[in-house]
Structures are given as C-alpha cells and as structure tokens.
C-alpha cells in the first residue's frame, strides 16, 4: 500500500481540527501538522498565506497543542515547523510538549543534518521521530547519512524549489526516490525499511499516483491548503483527499502486479 500524508497548517481557520478529522476519514496514513512560523523560508505562497492567516488569528504553539490534545485522531501526527520555534523553548522542551500533545514525528526543513544533532537527541528522548529531508542535489555520501539518521520516514524533496503546486511532477522525484531506495538497500538496520515519501509540489491525483510509484507514498500540502484558503468545507476536503487516496491505491495495485509493497509509518496514535 502507498502511503498518503496530507499536510495541514494548524490554526488556519477556526475549524481546522475538522479538516484534520476529514483527512483521517478520507484514508490518510498520517498527517503533517504545520506549526505556523512567521518566516517560512521553504514554503511557497499557499502555505505562507496559510501560516500568515493562522498567526493573524492569534494562534500560539500552546493553543495549537492544547486544541490537538483532545482530538480523536488515530493516525500519526507529524509536526512540520522551522528551527526557531524548536530552539526558542529549547529542543528538549519543545519535543516534550509535542509528545505530550500526542505527536509522533517532527520535520524541521531548515535543520540540515549538520545542525540536527541536538534536536535528534531531544526528539529521541521524548519518543519523537525526527524525519530528515533529502534533496535532489544531496550528494551520495550525505544521502546515505540522512538515510541512516532519519526517523519515521525519509522525506524526498521532489524538486529544487519551495512547497507549492506545480503543473507536473519533476523527474527529479523519481530519480531521488530511487537513490534513496538504493541507499536503503545497502543497509541491514531499521533504516532500510523506512518508507520514502515524496513531497514538495505534488498536486492532484495524477501527480500523487506518479509520486507514489516513485516512492512509498506522498506528502500533499499546498494543493489541499489552497482549497482550504479558498473556502472548502471539511466535507469538500475529505472528497479531495479520497480522490488522492483512490489514485494512489490504483497506482499501487498496478505496481503490486509486479512486486509487493509494504510501507507503513511506524506507530499509531495513543
């Protein structure tokens, strides 16, 4: 089965939790929860706008975590945010609060390998999986190290660029996923089994299927957040995610004609 991981900016609207539940209902395998940051350096216009909108509504990390805590989600939640929000309270405290709110994983796009050590340690001590990103330009030796150190899954950045919808999936996505797979094949530890998710600029069922074929699944953010910003209801969004789910499953069935695929995101929520 190919994994579907939609992205949702926390606090983007008052009823943002309803979108989260809709994503789960539509068959998401996990959800990336964007903790809005004032300076989202790696995000395209859609997610910038969603972040600005959330911050303008007055949400804080505390208010987001408090809201999320009581929500009946079963799928793993992965926090997606920037380094400054992690370091401000301290990586340890930050991860503690994430864990307490029921988060499973953390992604910090402006925290490359070289700067990650302290956060990796803090995350590990709180049972939070710190997922690292691999880019098309990442050299082999570095890629191998990222594969070794990433937890939860491995995030394959499909293209050089920011998040955001694109007309077509970049060819670099397939190449990169294959390189990651190759690096995993050279290992015998748990890292060899981590799913490879393709993200950044995947939009629509066709691209999702294509990205799914390249890796073990997809992360879809801007395409969904665009709908939310444009006023889609949770039900609208659920339909959108269902369509992605279906496209992904179809791609998977075609693929399993050849060989089996057993990707899974470790752990389910409390």
């Amino acid at each position: 089965m190919k994994l579907l991981v939609p992205y949702l900016t926390a606090g983007v609207t008052e009823n943002w939790i309803d979108y989260l539940l809709a994503m789960q209902a539509a068959g998401a395998d996990a959800v990336e929860i964007g903790l809005p940051f004032s300076d989202p350096m790696l995000d395209g216009v859609t997610i910038q706008q969603a972040s600005d909108q959330a911050l303008a509504r007055g949400v804080t990390i505390d208010s987001i975590l408090a809201e999320i805590k009581g929500v009946p989600v079963r799928v793993p939640l992965i926090a997606f945010t920037y380094a400054n929000l992690v370091f401000r309270p301290g990586a340890d405290e930050f991860c503690r609060r994430l864990a307490e709110a029921g988060f499973r994983g953390l992604i910090v796009p402006d925290l490359p390998l070289d700067e990650a050590a302290s956060v990796e340690a803090a995350a590990a001590s709180h049972g939070i999986e710190l997922t690292l990103l691999v880019a098309p330009v990442t050299p082999d030796d570095r890629l191998a190290e990222i594969v070794a150190r990433s937890r939860g899954y491995i995030y394959a950045v499909s293209r050089m660029g920011t998040t955001g919808e694109r007309d077509a999936l970049a060819s670099s996505a397939a190449t990169l996923a294959a390189r990651i797979k190759a690096a995993q094949a050279a290992r015998i530890d748990a890292a060899s089994a981590l799913p490879v998710l393709v993200g950044f600029g995947v939009s629509g069922p066709a691209q999702a299927a294509e990205a799914g074929r390249a890796g073990d699944g997809v992360v879809i953010g801007s395409a969904l957040m665009r709908r939310v910003l444009d006023g889609a209801t949770p039900a609208d969004l659920e339909a959108e995610v269902r369509a992605l789910r279906a496209a992904l499953d179809r791609a998977d069935q075609e693929a399993t004609a050849d060989h089996a695929s057993h990707a899974e995101i470790s752990g389910h929520r409390g």
Binding site: F37, S38, M41, I61, N84, D114, E115, V137, M160
Partner: protein, 383 residues
C-alpha cells in the same frame, strides 16, 4: 584578547552562526564556501577585486576629521566616508567581491534581497558591470519609502520583485530571495547583503567589508579609543571592527531602538544562522520598526552576537528622533548628509559625548556607512 574575527570553523562564532538552511541549499553553501576560500587565497582574485575597488568604486574612501562637531562635542571625531563609495554606501565592497566570485563560479544570475535599496542598487551595479542578470527582492513597504533606489535598480537593468508577504520589509525580502535561490541554485548566486545568513556568508561578507576597517586603521593617525558603526545586519560594523579587533579600541555597534536584536532580542535562528533575534515567546520573529529601512531588521549577524556575548563589542541603540536630529546636525556642522542608517552611529556619539560612555577627550572613529540622498523624502516628511 581572544582570537577574534578569523576564519570561523564551520561558520561558527562561539555558539552563533552555523547553517540552518534547507537540505536543497547545503551543497550550494558548501560550494560557495569552497569557492570563496579559494578565491580569497588567490592573489589574482584579490588583485582584480582590489583594482575594481580602486578604479571603479573609489577606494580608499577618505577618513575625514569632523572638526566642527569635534570642537562642539569635546571628542575627536574621525569619519570613515563610505558615503563616498560608488552607489553611495559600503554595500559596493561586498557586492563587487561576491559578483566576481559568482562569475568565477560560472553563475549567470544573482539574486539579492534589499531593505533600504542600497544593497539592491549595489548588487544591480555589480551585476551590470560583470554582465550578470540581477533580480532584487524588496518588501512592498520598502519599495514605497525608497522609490529613488527602485528607479536606480531598474535603470541599472535589474528586475525588482515586490515582496508582499509578512511585514513586507527586509526580512520577508530575504525569505523570498532564499526561496528563489533554492529554485535556481545552479545558475544563480544568492548575493546576500550583510553578515547574516548561513555559512559562509557571515565570514565572507565580513572579509569583503574588512577593507573599511583596514583602510581606516592605516589612515588614522592613532588607534582610536572607540570605533563606532551602525548595525543593521552588521556588515559595515563587522568590516570596520575587523580592522581594530586586535587593538585596545572599544568596538561599539549602534542599532535602531526598533530593531535592536542585541539589546532586546534573544538567541534564535532566522535566515540560516543562529544569532540574536527579536521574537516572541514562541519564536515568531517580530517586525522591526525603524525610520531607517536598512536597519529595519529583527536579526543581526552571528559574529556580532558572539562579539557581544564575549564582551569584545558593545551594542547600544538610539531612537528615530535622535537619528533625524543627527542627520541634520551632521549636515549643518560638517556639510555631510549621511544615510539614516549611518546617522544611528552619529546619534550615539551626539548623545554620549562627554558622558561616561564617551568621556570628553575620547578619540572616536565612526564609519559613515552611506549617504542620505535616498532618505531626503523621508526626512522631508518628519520636518
């Protein structure tokens, strides 16, 4: 005295600096660091840059004794005249170096962020001179208040991209420039304008700006008691300080009260480096507020955070009204209209001269980072 202002290992200045960038940019930062190391050690590169600085940019800039102000204030004040450099500020020192480097690296384009527009103008200038395409990102609010510089950039053939996100000022322009870099990292060099950003920028830009301090040191008849410069990102201050770090001179950086990362900020990570940052309890970056667009920035270069943390440099701040008064006072006393940014350093001297921070008789060397033509409209409004 600790060994200061040398090549930082892995871009770290004590606990500050580093490289907090997307994985997509890591190889580019590595390549840039290697290229700059190579170039900086290459006499041919240094000679070409030195030649441009001299025959093109007008270096050395003079060290002007401010005789009238000195007499009035009871301190001996020397002004390092970056306002006389081509394009009107110290920014030209940095851009010529980086543009030469970009060409050496085979890049076709440069991307730059700008606040006051001085860096944007300088970057567009260097790009024109060296046959590179230039795209300059500038906050919409800054575009409004720095029309003159926008016209200069487009006249130089640069594309100015208005940035409409966030506070629509320098920090957002920087985000946007970095986004554009990620998308075009092969062809484009990100020509950062100050001593912030990921390694190797803080080191590279400081090295390119140290010509200010080196010149001033050799032009000054003595080692001054106090060396003062304004601080936005901190490049003119870093370049000035570099010439005096190994002397007993006190190093003083002056920030805008509304953008005082050192005085009011906390350690944080923005734009690729760990440094002092104005931010709220969550880590959301605060909007700075200064009459000087070039200081309207919530961060500061990591080396300053370090120099401050180890006590080698002091950082103070001045308010907008002191700054406006300083522009006028300097203009009337010495016939020099400096930039609002530079006037921060002047305002500090005006305020402290004769007091405990700057006792009567002190010998002060102050870097006048730029000229004030661009600020005349702003100044007209507060008349």
């Amino acid at each position: 005295m600790p060994t200061l202002m040398t090549t930082p290992a892995a871009g770290r200045f004590g606990g500050f600096g580093g490289r907090f960038v997307p994985e997509s940019l890591v190889p580019a930062c590595d390549a840039l660091a290697a290229a700059f190391s190579g170039a900086w050690a290459d006499p041919a590169f240094r000679a070409e840059l030195g030649d441009l600085l001299a025959v093109y940019a007008g270096r050395p800039t003079p060290l002007t004794p401010a005789r009238n102000l000195s007499a009035a204030l009871g301190v001996e004040l020397l002004l390092k005249r970056e306002d006389l450099a081509h394009t009107g500020s110290h920014k030209i020192n940095n851009v010529l170096g980086q543009a030469l480097l970009a060409r050496r690296m085979g890049k076709r384009r440069i991307l730059a962020e700008t606040g006051a527009g001085q860096h944007g103008v300088a970057a567009a200038t260097a790009a024109a001179l060296l046959g590179l395409e230039a795209t300059v990102f500038m906050g919409e609010r800054d575009i409004e208040r720095q029309q003159l510089n926008v016209l200069r950039m487009t006249t130089l053939g640069a594309t100015v991209v208005p940035v409409t996100t966030g506070s629509r000022t320098l920090k957002d322009a920087t985000n946007e420039a970095m986004r554009a870099w990620v998308a075009d990292v092969d062809d484009a060099h990100f020509l950062l304008g100050s001593v912030g950003g990921p390694h190797p920028y803080p080191w590279m830009v400081r090295e390119l700006q140290r010509v200010i301090g080196d010149e001033a040191r050799s032009q000054s008849p003595y080692v001054p008691d106090v060396v003062v410069a304004c601080v936005g990102g901190g490049s003119n201050a870093a370049g000035t300080f570099a010439g005096f770090a190994d002397t007993p001179a006190r190093l003083v950086g002056v920030e805008a009260a509304g953008g005082a990362a050192m005085s009011s900020g906390r350690p944080g990570v923005v734009h690729g480096a760990r440094s002092m940052v104005l931010q709220d309890a969550d880590g959301q970056v605060a909007e700075a507020a200064s009459i000087a667009a070039g200081l309207d920035y919530p961060g500061i270069g990591p080396e300053h955070a370090f120099l401050g943390s180890v006590g080698r440099a002091e950082y103070h701040c001045v308010k907008d009204d002191e700054v406006v008064a300083a522009v006028r006072r300097l203009a009337r006393a010495e016939g020099i209209i400096c930039a609002l940014e530079s006037a921060h350093a002047v305002a500090w001297v005006l305020r402290e001269a004769g007091g405990p921070l700057l006792p009567t008789g002190s010998r002060v060397l102050l870097t006048l980072s730029g000229r004030g033509d661009k600020d005349m409209a702003t100044l007209g409004e507060v008349a």
